[in-house]
Symmetry: C2
Subunit: 342 residues, 2 copies
């Protein structure tokens, strides 16, 4: 089994929460092999204590790239954890995936620069899992911010990549929909009109346009949009949940009966919001890079980071990147075919 | 006082909920004067019974435009309630506003075609009120769907119009923000980069870029974006609230203590979600038309429709459209000024 490279220094709660996450993942899945990048003494001590040091290789560094630095620093700070991670991911046959909770920009820039894109993919995309009404059932949105200006063929590639990703997650025939302002075929702007035509001609299970109010309905597996729209979708969902939470708190604080009721349901409410948060923040695949790259949420605690590791492992094991390459090739209309069709 | 034109036949619950809404509004504000368009006998009977028939003029029709028809039918079906409404709004000095819960497309198309735009406004926009964390405090989003392909100057006009609208709602110096993928000045796509520059040079209270997760924080009064992004924002918020509602229901149904707790907080939860729904669905101003046009939610019940009428009245009374014209003129950089600045 190939090694998963972990950036021990990235994230708001690094290195402790990250190391805790690695321990959790290692205990849950005894097959996992790691290349851990961070403080050698600290990592070795912990891995020895937890009894999985035989599955751990370490590259020592104490340098990291913060969220406040330009992402392109990944080129200059060659001894930073992210730079070392992408360099090893590129050159080593025995490494298959990389997980970091550090600077999104640096992880993406480093992956594109050093690891490169899957042949045929025009633009890699950032692709998180979202919760749906049914606990345990997810929907993905491609892209949520890596590409803020897109052309129709980019959205088309997002759809292909998203579909292969969901196959790697165990969904045999993912339902792909285009995020739009209405469900009718003719709805939308220039970008979606162009993407709609490409999607209709593809071998994807394309179910048409959808409206964001149904994003979490469970009726779709893959939602396709440009990175600006996806980013707004991601963050609006977060904001709306915060709004409901704030109002709920206010409502439950007023009157003795409500306070009693609130006490009785408190645990359940807490569990629900933890579940939603967990499902939402588990990690986003940076899809389209030659090897599996997972960006865990910056605020990841151990449990969320462990989930991100399992996610990376699943994508790595299922040959997702190879399948994306094949699907892109299968769906690419050559200039010759275009002429034949005319 | 000028008359408010009401489309009695538009909306999922028309005519009864609409007529009920008119009755509620008429009772709350004894100054209101109406031009009601719908079934004459039905309207007359109701207005007489409720004691405000002296404030009501009626135009009889039984024809309406459904959501399934092309909005441009408003040109052909000249005897439909929406066509009659916009025609009267255009030609009659004594009519100052129009409220409909009918086809959004037909209301917008009809308003642009017959009533026309405020001089200087490049594109009218659809602009709903959203709830924030603080009950009673709203934020508006311009645009949420009237313009799916925009240039920077359109967003600039949206900002000016939104700001004047919030002034008419009693906010003296509205905080205007640009919806973006990050708060830093340089963030975004080509469209937002262009709009940012225009907004920075304006006399608006422009506070910079914002992220959709803070849409309902209460930190902003006017959120500016193209109609595609705004539509996704509007509908994602709706979808996320549905998601929380569904999970909440599931969580509260499990276990006897939770069920007891759920019973004790049920009323509060219902009130909270009604409040959020009410605030969200009260009505959207179609801002930029020469006279005030309010599009109430298609599913409006009486109370929501009455709110939409009060909203229209407030905008009409505060000379919003005149103020928008002045603000646009004030912020328009003439070719001559451009040369002077060079």
């Amino acid at each position: 089994m190939k090694k998963i490279i972990i950036d021990i220094l990235g994230g708001d709660n690094a290195p402790h929460a990250i190391l805790d996450g690695v321990v959790m993942a290692a205990k849950k899945d005894k097959q996992l092999q790691f290349l851990l990048i961070g403080d050698e003494t600290q990592i070795k001590e912990r891995a020895t204590k937890e009894g999985f040091v035989d599955r751990v290789e370490i590259i020592h560094t104490t340098e990291s790239i913060s969220n406040n630095e330009p992402p392109t620093n990944v080129r200059v700070k060659t001894n930073s954890s992210i730079a070392l991670a992408v360099e090893n991911l590129r050159k080593r046959e025995d490494c298959g995936a990389f997980v970091s909770a550090g600077s999104t920009g640096a992880v993406l820039a480093g992956s594109v620069l050093r690891v490169g894109r899957i042949p045929g993919v025009s633009r890699p995309a950032l692709c998180p899992l979202f919760p749906t009404k049914t606990p345990g059932k997810n929907v993905i949105v491609v892209d949520v911010g890596a590409n803020v200006d897109c052309r129709p063929e980019h959205l088309f590639h997002f759809a292909i990549m998203g579909s292969e990703y969901m196959k790697s997650m165990g969904i045999p025939n993912p339902r792909v929909a285009l995020v739009n302002v209405g469900v009718e075929d003719k709805k939308g702007n220039e970008l979606t009109a162009g993407a709609f035509q490409l999607l209709k001609q593809s071998d994807l299970n394309f179910v048409g346009n959808m409206e964001a109010r149904d994003a979490f309905s469970g009726d779709y597996d893959v939602l396709v949009c440009d990175g600006f729209v996806g980013n707004v979708l991601l963050k609006t969902a977060e904001g709306a949940m915060k709004l409901v939470g704030a109002r709920l708190k206010g409502a439950l604080k007023s009157g003795p009966i409500s306070i009693l009721g609130a006490l009785l349901v408190k645990g359940k409410l807490k569990k629900m919001s933890a579940e939603l948060g967990e499902e939402a923040a588990g990690g986003a695949i940076f899809i389209g890079a030659k090897k599996t790259v997972v960006k865990a949420h910056g605020s990841s605690e151990a449990h969320a980071f462990a989930n991100a590791i399992h996610l990376a492992n699943r994508a790595m094991q299922s040959d997702m990147t190879e399948n994306i390459e094949k699907a892109i090739a299968r769906n690419t209309i050559t200039e010759e075919e275009k002429k034949d069709g005319e």
